[in-house]
């Protein structure tokens, strides 16, 4: 047995960072523990981002980590600054989500030895974002989702990390980035500003109590509130009541995840079926029924009229009341916790301030991913390629390699692929592969 166990390996999804561990298998996809990667059917796809087996690579056993001694010699330091470069110049990456870190890593892998500065308003923690909506089922706390701390990753990649720093303004012509910690000069800029959760304007004093989750910090707050809701419900000998407004991808996934964790979930959606934007009616109905079997109360055609602060709610708890109309009638409910899942919108403030072309996202060249200025690039959720927004994790690694290739002068033309949507609803797992939309005329 021990011989066989030693031979088992782990495989990394290059697109999203998911690790397939042969020892554990992938029970959700019907792969028993001990299933070797070679033995996985070829039509299997990454349970997180939907890429195929070809995008996985084996993880070599990690070499033992040697912590550098205090005041370690320069030999251990990351790539040195070329003497010809003006002080402070180098690549500046704005944003430390999946895209920002992918860009920094791709630059190092492409041989960029100059300085890289990563500017981010968050603390720079790297985490697998698609897992946010399935964390409960996997028994993961918000803290456990953090894969690497910002400083740790920065040290590995030789990146100067400016965490908790806001990029205020970008002077494209002079390639100067004004931040809340000083002005940076850059030879190249990479915008990885991501997206933020959309918050529809809802009436009522309780509207600000609705959670909207698009990053780890917001998810951690949601989980804290859910823990409080669990405690309150347990004291009253009932299940915690959760309202989710919006049954798109994230709304459905979170509804399934929280229902699986024992919550009584009400899922409100303006359209008649869940995921109506992406699913045909028959599949949408199947998803609705599968969620229903899980205990999710789906209300289609629902329009939220008001969000109330219920009597007895404390200033620091998340309880709220919802009033909505559906099916020709008016409904009301009291919930321990509510969240709104209305999609995301690209964070474009900096690009707009810089005067870069912006449509729905930062408009980049489909082959080079450069903005109008050839030394400014954008990738990930903030970028609009070929008239389309990314919004999935799969393209990010390839986009990072294209940008790194452009910066080091060895072009890696980007190829627009069909987006693949993996709906991580264990009640009814779905993979959506829409045909490429006709090439948009918009640009």
């Amino acid at each position: 047995m021990s011989e066989a166990a030693r031979a088992l390996r782990r495989w990394l999804c290059e697109a999203c960072g998911l690790v397939y561990d042969e020892a554990r298998g992938d029970p959700d996809s019907g792969l028993e523990p001990g299933t070797r990667f070679e033995d996985i059917p070829e039509d299997w796809t990454c349970p997180v981002c939907g890429v195929t087996k070809a995008d996985f690579r084996p993880i070599e056993p990690a070499p033992p980590r040697i912590a550098p001694a205090a005041g370690a010699a320069a030999g251990a330091a990351p790539a040195a600054t070329p003497a010809t470069m003006q002080a402070g110049e180098g690549v500046v990456v704005v944003g430390a989500g999946t895209a920002g870190w992918a860009a920094a890593r791709a630059l190092r892998e492409a041989g960029w030895s100059g300085p890289i500065t990563l500017v981010t308003a968050c603390d720079g923690t790297l985490y697998p974002k698609p897992v946010l909506s399935v964390a409960l089922a996997r028994g993961l706390s918000a803290q456990a989702l953090a894969e690497r701390s910002g400083p740790e990753l920065a040290a590995e990649l030789g990146v100067r990390l400016l965490a908790r720093t806001w990029a205020l303004d970008l002077d494209v012509a002079r390639r100067r980035l004004l931040t809340t910690r000083g002005t940076l000069r850059a030879s190249h800029l990479v915008l990885a500003t991501g997206a933020r959760a959309r918050r529809p304007a809802l009436a009522g004093a309780g509207a600000s109590r609705l959670f909207a989750v698009n990053d780890l910090a917001a998810y951690a707050r949601l989980r804290d509130a859910f823990d409080a809701a669990l405690a309150r419900a347990a004291a009253e000998r009932r299940a915690p009541r959760l309202a989710i407004v919006g049954a798109g991808l994230v709304g459905c996934e979170l509804a399934d995840d929280f229902a699986g964790a024992g919550a009584e979930v009400t899922l409100l959606e303006a359209r008649l079926l869940p995921l109506a934007e992406r699913l045909d009616a028959a599949t949408g109905a199947r998803l609705r029924d599968a969620l229903g079997a899980r205990g999710v109360r789906f209300s289609g055609g629902a329009v939220v009229r008001e969000v109330l602060v219920p009597s007895g709610a404390q200033a620091d708890d998340a309880q709220l009341g919802l009033v909505w109309e559906a099916g020709g009638g008016s409904h009301a409910g009291r919930f321990d916790l509510g969240l709104v899942a209305a999609g995301i919108e690209p964070e474009l403030r900096l690009a707009r301030r810089a005067g870069l072309p912006v449509a729905r996202g930062v408009v980049v060249d489909a082959e080079t991913l450069a903005c109008a200025d050839s030394r400014v690039y954008a990738l990930g959720d903030c970028a609009e390629v070929d008239g389309r927004l990314g919004c999935t994790i799969e393209p990010i690694g390839r986009q990072a390699r294209t940008i790194a290739g452009g910066i080091v002068g060895r072009p890696v033309p980007y190829v627009v692929r069909d987006p693949v949507w993996v709906v991580k609803t264990p009640s009814l797992p779905l993979t959506i592969r829409p045909a490429l939309a006709a090439t948009a005329a918009a640009s």
Binding site: A121, R164, W166, L168, R174, L178, T180, R181
Partner: protein
């Protein structure tokens, strides 16, 4: 219509430049070392330098914030101290024009606009208080017909025995407890010659000693209701804050222009070595032009109370500070040992430049406030 023609002529840039050359240039070194140039400031006021942004004080009834900024720039090109005092004057008049007191608008504002009365702004402490950096220094209790105000303000500039200034205090209830809530403070205009106001000399500064800067002690100072500019201060503050901050860009712009001139002059002789310096005059001038364009756009919406607009204003102000520091350092490096002489304007520019980056809102204050606004989701 002769009167109107005269007044319009008063805000002619060439006339202003001539006044600066005649009244200010000969005094610049002495102002740096402590001379308060009251006569020069009054002459600039008479020239119309301080009325550009005051729609109610112009014959055409138009508000020209860019004109105010450019006038401060013309003054600052010669003397950073005087540009700062000009800004104090502009800000004080701005408080009154936007304030609630009909009496002050009628009786005092024309005199502030013309420079007949000189005014300061005791808003450094309140601005830092509103950014959660300091406690509010003054407190007032309600009495018949007004307020009794006590406390100490460490530095208020552009003051003299017969000057006025604006400042804010925290109103205390009968039980001595401060009012609670956001923006509940009271804004008032105070006269230096009121009983209970004591002006004390402050230790010398690194530069700009002639700015009429005093420490102020308030001992039960009676502030009549007709000198209250805003109670509560909240909505008024949102109206004046963009103008307050944007007009400061003029101080920096003037110093930067002065530095560009110094660099160009130096390049006549030392251009072959100065070519190895960063931030040459063309580059600095180019960036100043871009900043001016940005400020002109923001000036069109100066009364916009939105936080998003204020964030843009703070960003422009931050750029002005950073560019001033680069320009003054570069002027010093361009002029070399000659600029290091106490007889040279380059070293004075360097010291003035630090002031732009330090005066409220300082660079660190701007970054902290922008961090707060961004973190609160202001876009």
């Amino acid at each position: 219509m002769g009167a109107i023609d005269t007044e319009l002529a008063c805000i002619d840039p060439a006339a202003l430049a001539a006044t600066v050359e005649r009244e200010l240039d000969p005094l610049v070194g002495r102002i740096d070392r402590g001379l308060y140039p009251a006569a020069a400031l009054r002459a600039l006021g008479a020239q119309g330098a301080f009325r550009h942004h005051l729609a109610t004080q112009r014959p055409d009834g138009r508000r020209d914030l860019v004109g105010a900024i450019d006038a401060l720039g013309a003054i600052g090109r010669s003397c950073g101290s005087s540009a700062f005092m000009g800004w104090c004057q502009d800000a004080c008049a701005w408080y009154v024009e936007q304030g609630a007191s009909e009496t002050l608008r009628r009786e005092l504002l024309p005199k502030l606009a013309s420079g007949e009365v000189l005014g300061g702004t005791g808003m450094s402490n309140p601005m830092k208080y509103f950014a959660s950096i300091e406690r509010l220094a003054l407190q007032g209790t309600r009495v018949p017909g007004g307020w009794r105000v006590s406390g100490r303000l460490p530095w208020v500039s552009n003051l003299g025995p017969d000057h006025v200034f604006g400042t804010a205090f925290m109103p205390l209830g009968p039980d001595g407890a401060p009012r609670t809530g956001a923006g509940v403070e009271v804004m008032a205009l105070v006269r230096c010659d009121w009983p209970g106001v004591t002006m004390t000399e402050v230790p010398p500064f690194l530069a700009m000693d002639g700015t009429g800067t005093y420490g102020l002690a308030f001992d039960e100072v009676f502030v009549p209701d007709d000198h209250v500019l805003a109670d509560p201060i909240g909505p008024w503050l949102k109206r004046i804050r963009n103008g307050f901050v944007l007009m400061q860009v003029g101080i920096g712009a003037g110093i930067i222009e002065g530095c560009v001139a110094l660099m160009r002059e130096s390049n006549l002789r030392l251009g072959h070595v100065n070519a190895f310096l960063e931030d040459g005059p063309d580059q600095i001038e180019d960036e100043l032009g871009a900043l001016h364009d940005r400020v002109a756009v923001l000036a069109d919406a100066v009364l916009d109370p939105a936080d998003a607009r204020f964030a843009e204003v703070l960003t422009a102000r931050l750029m002005a500070s950073e560019l001033t520091l680069r320009a003054t350092q570069s002027a010093m490096l361009h002029t070399g040992a000659g600029g290091y002489s106490l007889a040279s304007p380059a070293q004075r520019r360097l010291r003035e430049g630090y002031f732009v980056a330090i005066v409220t809102p300082a660079i660190k204050h701007l970054r902290k406030e922008l961090d707060r606004l961004m973190s609160a989701g202001v876009r």
